[in-house]
């Protein structure tokens, strides 16, 4: 980076949508972690579980690469 350019390394960001979002599970994820990240509230995990019962049979078992629907709040 050029010396005369400010440092933006601590910029925080986020996103949301009125549409259903699609989230790809990565290693280390849990439904509550995803809910915390997407909704700001880990206890909303059940909302994600209910929207994905076609592919998530056990809420404690999600796998990297799974594409989860994240309903809008």
């Amino acid at each position: 980076m050029s010396e005369d350019m400010p440092d933006f390394s601590n910029v925080q960001s986020g996103s949301s949508s009125t549409a259903t979002k699609i989230y790809e599970v990565v290693s280390g994820d849990s439904l509550s972690k995803i809910a915390k990240r997407e909704y700001g509230n880990a206890s909303e995990w059940k909302r994600i579980y209910e929207a994905n019962q076609d592919i998530v049979k056990d809420p404690d078992k999600i796998f990297p690469g799974q594409m989860l629907k994240i309903p809008s709040l």
Partner: protein, 152 residues
């Protein structure tokens, strides 16, 4: 002579009638392919991109702005139409002296069934440097719109 003529006419008549009795060949199926008007793939198209420092429940900024304070959270509200699955990306950059530097880049994959609004936001705990910025929105890595703004 008349007999020959009559016989000739009769023979011709028999030939014609015989021809009529021939089964018509089954019509060859038209080799025309199915209509080639391929429907446009269901796609998501970006409409308005609006900036502001606060967001409503509908993901739209409460008041459009192109100038922000140092401690603002900056929201880009992106209206889309269409249905399908699309990766929306927002690339935030800082512009100075004809150069630009990346501030942040974020992608969200959405699956709208119709018109929708998505938002991206950025904040900087120690405050934004004053100057000019730009946010460019991409759909499937193709630029779909740009907005410029400043921090004063």
């Amino acid at each position: 002579m008349q007999t020959k003529l009559a016989f000739g006419l009769l023979a011709a008549l028999v030939l014609v009638l015989g021809g009529c009795g021939k089964k018509a060949e089954a019509p060859t199926p038209a080799s025309n392919p199915a209509p080639t008007t391929t429907a446009a793939p269901a796609g998501v198209t970006v409409g308005a991109i609006t900036l502001g420092n606060a967001l409503g429940a509908n993901k739209k900024v409460t008041s459009a702005a192109d100038s922000f304070a140092k401690n603002d959270t900056i929201y880009a509200s992106v209206d889309t139409t269409g249905a399908g699955t699309a990766a929306l990306k927002a690339k935030w950059t800082y512009q100075k002296g004809g150069k630009e530097t990346l501030v942040k880049e974020d992608t969200q994959t959405i699956a709208p069934s119709g018109p929708a609004t998505s938002e991206f936001h950025v904040s900087k705990p120690d405050g934004w440097p004053t100057g000019d910025y730009r946010v460019e929105v991409f759909v499937a890595d193709k630029s779909a719109g740009t907005k410029t703004f400043s921090v004063k």
